[in-house]
Symmetry: C2
Subunit: 119 residues, 2 copies
Amino acid sequence: MSKVNIAEKFSKIPERWKPHIVGELNGQHVKLVKSWGEFVFHHHENEDEMFLVVKGRFRMDFRDRHEWIETGEFIVVPRGVEHRPVAEEECWIVLFEPASTLNTGNVENELTQHELGRV
Amino acid sequence: MSKVNIAEKFSKIPERWKPHIVGELNGQHVKLVKSWGEFVFHHHENEDEMFLVVKGRFRMDFRDRHEWIETGEFIVVPRGVEHRPVAEEECWIVLFEPASTLNTGNVENELTQHELGRV
């Protein structure tokens, strides 16, 4: 039970779009992900997802609209809702979601990460 | 499903030590609490708690040690572990915890908040 410095943990993450686990509580994971570029449209059958921006900003695309999430802001995407994060520059995102969550949800492609590491 | 600006929400909270709900996912609540002064030692029987500092800092006291949590840092306190937040100046904390969580856990006193509002 030690505190976690979020920026320090991000500095240890080289990859983009690969979440790293930094905390666990009540069956949920706290993950950090560096995003840059366009992710893939997907949804999660059974998991709501929270995206909290701590550096930069990204655009969350939905099928019928989009929303920019800036530093100090978060959005909760309910299960079943298709979404696609897009970042024009590097963006640091804290994810809060059930431990069972697969990053690409119902989609399997080169972005899919079945094995997550810890930093 | 709209984004939440954390600082904007904090600006609407007048009280100290009273959590306000700003998000809900997977049976968990995202709450904001302004802390200043000394809380009460307590524990939660069934809930792990995450404290993320977005402004200022606070000291988390345990029975045998303490830890300062600064802006951009978080700590997870597992269920059953006695803890007491103390803030020498106003500190803004984001809480992630099960919706069932009572702020003072096993303790009932003037700080206890049975009814939480939303901002």
